[in-house]
Symmetry: C2
């Protein structure tokens, strides 16, 4: 055979990885199939050997992305007590705001997901619930799960929508401090001052 058995799977994964970053930076609908394929050194025609449609790529992409995110944010039984605090600090960082291609999908593709079909939205819902349950349990506040995720997503949307770097930092810092006050000390997003 002209191509190794693993070739197709590798190409597919490269395409997913590359598309993920591009979509998070510039939007999914906004980027063409040609550009996505070019980013991995191929031409547009080859796309349809891997996905039946551009929409199918979107679904696979969101699924992978949400799986990764929720695994990272939910943590596991070995995660330290301040796991949530660490997540909040990383999420609500200037680095995250400045690098959408490396971060969470929701601030960038949230609106596109909202307009997508039921399968995509069910996938997203399941992944979100995983993080929500973990965070509610870890903080001891059943409402904190959803509220913290909402705070994170919203703060990133705002931070990226404003023009000045100063305001961007203020939004993120205010959100971090607000959560510090609202959560029991052991889960605060910054180390306690003594």
């Amino acid at each position: 055979m002209r191509y190794a058995k693993t070739h197709k799977e590798e190409t597919r994964q490269k395409l997913l990885d590359s598309s993920r970053a591009i979509a998070k930076k510039g939007g999914f609908k906004a980027t063409g199939v040609d550009a996505l394929m070019a980013s991995i050194g191929l031409t547009g025609g080859a796309f349809y050997s891997h996905f039946p449609s551009k929409q199918a790529l979107f679904e696979a992409l969101v699924q992978q992305e949400m799986d990764n995110s929720s695994a990272m944010l939910a943590g596991d039984k070995d995660s330290p007590d301040n796991h949530v605090a660490k997540c909040l600090r990383d999420y609500l960082s200037s680095f995250h705001a400045a690098n959408p291609e490396l971060g969470c999908v929701l601030p960038t593709l949230g609106a596109e997901i909202a307009q997508a079909g039921p399968e995509v939205r069910s996938t997203v819902e399941a992944a979100l619930k995983r993080t929500q349950k973990s965070w509610s349990q870890r903080t001891g506040d059943p409402d904190a799960g959803w509220a913290l995720i909402a705070q994170c997503v919203g703060a990133l949307v705002l931070a990226r929508a404003v023009e000045s770097e100063r305001t961007r930092k203020e939004i993120l810092a205010a959100s971090r401090r607000f959560l510090d006050k609202a959560l029991p000390a052991s889960h605060a997003s910054a180390p306690p001052t003594r």
Copy 2:
């Protein structure tokens, strides 16, 4: 003259009103000029008598939208003590989640704003700061301004991204309760139980 002096201004405003709703529902880039004009009973060619480009419409649209929102959310000197609480209740409602065309631009167009030019983002920043300052002052917590806006925007993005109606309501309710606990009683989003 074939058209009254006020005709152009009226048409422009009708176009803005209609485009606003359409863009908030389906995204701005996703809707074509022909469709926007058809929604007010005109054809695509007439668009360019009102705006030099589609991008110019986006800027005008976001500006008007943010002005309206911030005026409503910031309130004025006659607003009651529970003004912030009322805003939170309305914003974090199922009605708002179900009707993007009637609601805030940020959950739907936030990502498109983030990709827009400096003028748009400066406009958005100024309007956001107005609400932020008002809310910080009214709640007595300097961090609450940004944090509450972030919580609102994020909760709406999440609520619209999930599939089930049940989860959608849970997200909104959890956010409302979380803010109840985090804010001084007089600003809580629900009337105090006694």
